[in-house]
Structures are given as structure tokens and as C-alpha cells.
Symmetry: C2
Subunit: 136 residues, 2 copies
Amino acid sequence: MTSKQEFIEKLRNSSLRPTKQRINICEVLFNRDKTFHFTINDLFNLIKDKTGEKVSLATVYNTVHAFLKKGYLKEIPINSNQTYFDTNVTDHHHFFDVNEEKLIDIKNEDVGPIEIQKSIPGKKIKSVEVLVKLED
Amino acid sequence: MTSKQEFIEKLRNSSLRPTKQRINICEVLFNRDKTFHFTINDLFNLIKDKTGEKVSLATVYNTVHAFLKKGYLKEIPINSNQTYFDTNVTDHHHFFDVNEEKLIDIKNEDVGPIEIQKSIPGKKIKSVEVLVKLED
DNA sequence: ACAAGAAATTAGAATAATTATAATATTAAA
DNA sequence: TTTAATATTATAATTATTCTAATTTCTTGT
Ligand SMILES: [Mn+2]
Ligand SMILES: [Mn+2]
Ligand SMILES: [Zn+2]
Ligand SMILES: [Zn+2]
């Protein structure tokens, strides 16, 4: 349970102006116990449902991208018609249920260490992600 | 170096009619030594370049999807504006160079075994893919 | 070889996610 | 309070992909 004030401070500290819209988006995204996987459309609808206030689709896109750049969200690579985002920005892995189109976290301790015995000269590793596709 | 005749037989055996367009697409996709990672647009342009014959974009989409369903191609999950496909349909992993927007195979022997110590009731594992993002 | 039916190709339209635009409103700082 | 910077918004533009429906090609049986 994070307070509105904390969101305002977090936004200010990130040089993002704490607008009503951004605070509402923070409430929906970060005021929860578990990690949250979502599409822009999911988020757009939840804002109306949970806060009762409408935020324009453009602002949802803008804010999600701003939060991505600040490192408060991350993008999950899956092939879907919509892009998936994650409030869990730590290095972790996923199940993707292809029937339900839902992402599920796999905790790091549930995956053995991943050893990559190959490297590309002049390039460094940015991230290592495992995606486990599930079906019925 | 695979011959045209072999492509024709392969198509017939898959109950896909060996049209001129499909054979050309086969030449571009499968007549190579190394694995080939591509987008629809890459392929569309290569067909013209390599065979001198034009194939409609709709047919490129249709054929890639047909080959996907037959298991001659696979889709690689990365977040990009375009979908990536792979002629290497074996279970394997990838580097994705985010600067050059290029996929590079990681051979299975270059990745230690991936142990997933979690399961979801009623769901079975369809695939396990590692994506290693690279940057300069 | 020919006819008939099935399947494939094609141009172009439709769809839908995302991004761009530019006018208006809000926020921060002086 | 004034002012400038920033944010929001409706709407238009862009673009990857899918759909449509007409035409063409392929296969099979005669
Ligand atoms: Mn898309
Ligand atoms: Mn995508
Ligand atoms: Zn996650
Ligand atoms: Zn590959």
C-alpha cells in the first residue's frame, strides 16, 4: 500500500511532473502486492475501472514510455499483437500461456543458472531472459 | 545447395502445391548454409533481388504462415515492430543485437541446461527459449 | 490433351497497434 | 502573478498484418 504522496515524490525525483493522470497510473500499476503484467489496453481500461477517472490513450502511451525509460517498467519480449509490460523490473523469467495470453513470473530461484558460453566481440550482454511457452 | 526438384517434392509431401512463387521463396529461405533470421519485409525484398521475380506481399505472408504451420519455419519472440522468423526450427537460443536489430543463433551446446523448477497445473511446456540482448 | 474443381496469387481494402501533431491546459519557478 | 516549460488530449498519420474477392494456376479424372 503506497500512498499518493510517495508517488508524487517518486515522480518529482524522476523529474516527471506529478500530474493527476500520472498519479492515477501509478496507483493502478504500483499499488499492488504482486507483479503486474499488462498491455497498454489493459492499463487503459483499468484506469477507468479503478480510479473512476479517464486518461487519454495518448497519455497512457506517453507515461508507460516515460516509466520504461526511467526503469520503473520493463518490456517483455513475446510475439503478440500487443506489447507486454511488467512492473517487475528485476532480472527474471516468464511463462507465457499461449491459450490465455497471460504472462506468469518465474522466480530466479526456480531457474537454474543460465550459462552462455559464447560471446560476440565488441558487444556486451544487456539482459538474459527465458521465455517458457505453455499450452493446455 | 538444394535443387529445385527437392523443393517441389518437399512441397508436394506437405500437400502444398509447388507454385513458382513458393519455389522461389524456398530458394531464398532454404538454399543457404547458415540459419536465416528475417522479417517478412527482408524476405519480400530478397525474393526480387535473388530470383529476379516479383512475388506479392500477400503471398509472402501466406507462404510464411503455411511454412510456420508445417514446421519449416519458426517465429522468434522479440519486441520489434516487425515479426522475426527463423529457418532453424530446432530448439535453440538467440542473441539479439539491439543496435543492429539482428538475431544471432546460440547453439544449444553453448548454453547450459535450463532447469525450470516450477510448473503450472494443467499446462504443459511448449518451448523454452533464451533471449540474450546485446548492446555496444 | 482437356475440362472441372480446388487451391493459390494478387491488388487493394480493412484493421489495429503505435506514433506524431498541434492545440489547449497544467505545473514549476522566478 | 507572470512566464516558460511540460503534459494532456483529440485526432490524424503511420505501418505491420490480415482480409477480400477477383483472377490465375494447378491437379486430377476423363
Ligand atoms: Mn504490431
Ligand atoms: Mn511484437
Ligand atoms: Zn514478470
Ligand atoms: Zn535462430
